[in-house]
């Protein structure tokens, strides 16, 4: 049992899957000798060679499009997009091609592919190195959308994603890459199933729904609120699509109140879908309005520190929202 960082969990998952299945390969910008700009693929080029860890041309559309073609041929590409902010040039290939391939070919052609991308703010990245893009993809049937919040899940979910026969979007909370540490048993095959949310802190007064970095903050906020006698239950979504509605509804049936937290901007963010599900399927269980604590509706996270702090949700803001909702 070793304590590792979230990014180390990701690196281990790719290392193990490259060893486990010779159809698996990695393609992206600077994933080779450089080991990725965040070092997620560190050492893998040396270990598996340039034909399985490929430095692509600087063009996201073709990183994904070529990956799709390779997947159609029977390979299992792991495409790295250097920052989630730069995934948009590949949007057409992901949404119109990868996501629709199985349905449009009546199951004859499938795209077993993982697209990894670091997302999220609070790291001084400004408008274009801080974005959260999960809501765009969680609206696309045919994709799976996964976001880990800790090293164990990061490893186990990525390994499951690589083995999944469908295209999986795997978004990594980059602020937590080295900040978030956790115990991960070594020498053990860790496969965390896609499609299952998890109650990570039981509570009776209200439920906080979060994922990625915001889940870490939610836990801290819940502890802070507990000091004032408010017991918040925290649910880590882990998979946004397909969404684990059963776990969500069970929690709200119990607590009667829901606070949804994400750093993505508010309008049309993924929190809206959770709120809509609760408003439709947990209506009689709700004792209070469904609250959303999110990034504000501005184009993206500004660079200057005071502005960035203004944008980002944090444990204090979440704790305040917990207390307020508990008091409703």
């Amino acid at each position: 049992m070793a304590e590792i960082t979230l990014i180390e969990g990701i690196r281990q998952a790719m290392d193990e899957e490259l060893a486990h299945d010779d159809r698996v390969f990695i393609v992206g910008e600077d994933v080779g000798p450089r080991g990725g700009v965040f070092r997620a693929t560190l050492g893998l080029h040396e270990k598996y060679g340039g034909s399985r860890v490929i430095d692509s041309p600087l063009a996201e559309l073709s990183i994904v499009g070529v990956g799709i073609g390779a997947a159609l041929y029977g390979m299992r590409p792991i495409c790295e997009i250097q920052f989630a902010d730069f995934i948009l040039p590949a949007f057409n290939q992901i949404v119109n091609e990868a996501a629709k391939m199985c349905y449009r070919s009546n199951g004859e052609w499938t795209v077993p592919m993982v697209i990894r991308a670091p997302y999220g703010g609070g790291i001084g990245g400004g408008l274009y190195h801080s974005q959260s893009v999960e809501a765009f993809f969680a609206h696309v049937p045919g994709l799976k959308v996964v976001i880990p919040s800790n090293p164990y899940d990061a490893k186990g979910l990525l390994k499951s994603a690589v083995r999944d026969p469908n295209p999986v979007m795997y978004f990594e909370p980059k602020k937590g890459y080295r900040l978030i540490k956790g115990e991960v048993p070594d020498g053990e095959e860790i496969l965390v199933p896609i499609g299952q949310a998890k109650v990570t802190r039981p509570g009776s007064d209200l439920t906080v729904f979060a994922y990625g970095m915001m889940h870490q903050y939610a836990i801290q906020a819940a502890e802070a609120a507990a000091a004032d006698g408010v017991e918040a239950e925290v649910v880590d979504l882990r998979t946004l699509l397909p969404l684990d509605k059963a776990t969500l509804l069970a929690s709200v049936r119990k607590t009667g109140k829901a606070l949804i937290v994400h750093e993505d901007t508010r309008t049309g963010g993924f929190g809206a879908e959770i709120a809509a599900i609760l408003a439709e399927e947990a209506f009689t269980d709700l004792d209070a309005p469904v609250r959303r604590l999110t990034g504000p509706d501005v184009p993206a996270v500004p660079f200057s520190h005071p502005l960035q702090d203004w944008f980002m949700p944090n444990p204090e803001k979440i704790a305040a929202a917990i207390r307020e909702l508990a008091a409703y």
Binding site: F25, S51, R52, S56, P57, A59, L61, S62, V64, G65, V66, G67, I68, G69, A70, A71, L72, Y73, G74, M75, P77, N92, Q93, N96, E97, K100, M101, C102, Y103, R104, S105, N106, G107, E108, W109, T110, P112, P141, G142, K144, P165, N166
Partner: protein, 353 residues
Amino acid sequence: MANRDRVLDPVKESAKSKPGSRRGEATPVGKDQLLEMYQVMLLARRLDERAWVLHRQGKIAFHISGIGQEAAQVGAAFALRRGTDWFAPYYRDLALMLSLGLTPREFVLGLMGKQGEPSSGARQMPSHWSLKRAKVVSQSSPVATQAPHASGIALGIKMRGDDAVVLTTIGEGSTSQGEWYEAVNWAAVHKLPVIFMVENNVYAISVRQDLQMAVLHSSDKAAGLGLPGDSVDGLDVLEVYRAVEAAAARARAGEGPTVIEARVSRMTPHSSDDDDRSYRPREEVEAMKAHDPLVLFRDRLIKEKTLTAESDREFETRAKEQVDEAVAFAVAAPYPPVADGAYPVYVEDVRRG
């Protein structure tokens, strides 16, 4: 401006023997195969013509035609190892698909959106090809999306060390998409076994080539990406055969990709939704009909005594029978059950049934 002239008379240009043209060289294929190629072109033409009739009769809602492009498609298909090589075609490739074993029944099922249609279970519009048994990957409508897939398949072939090549086709207008550029660049950088064939019919719906590119031939784009580019007369089935055969040999030898422009004629409106009178002169269309690739090939085969007027009549009859039978079959076929609409969004659904 050179390509403007060209646009005003595509046939003259497309029939022109440019340097490197192989017109009149000895036939590279045997008599039986020549006749087989001719029969596929004939069947494609009659099937395509019938689709227009069905549309006029209100029996189908949409058709997009390959008439005038059959020679390029059949020449390319027969130059490759069908069953071994991979294909990422585009919507005008009916003759290519028939060369690869698509049946008339399967095509007409697609026109009518009937159950059993092989490419999508009738989920997609007609001519959105997919045929796993022939290694034809599924096509969508957004143009040029197939190009990076072709490079990816070729990357897989190279990684696996398999002995196969990929042919992907596209219209000249669609080469304006950055998607095509990125795909060709990938293949050039990694010397992948893929052939990018541009079926240049000078129009993108109503937009002429001179508004798409500042080069005379779409194959000239290869020069900027460090791979060979070749423009051939796409009305001459054998010239295309030779060009694709040569490109495939290069690819198999590990020498990388090739761009081939086949200069063809779009003898119909863009699709059954289009009316091309608003944007192109009738004389242009008439001139094309005077250089019909099917007629050119037949005349040549008759001149070379490979084909007799009598066997040609038999072929015509056979083709008509196949078309009639396919239409009758498709008309009688049921629509897919409504429940099919919900599946298969994920591979798990496929297993579920």
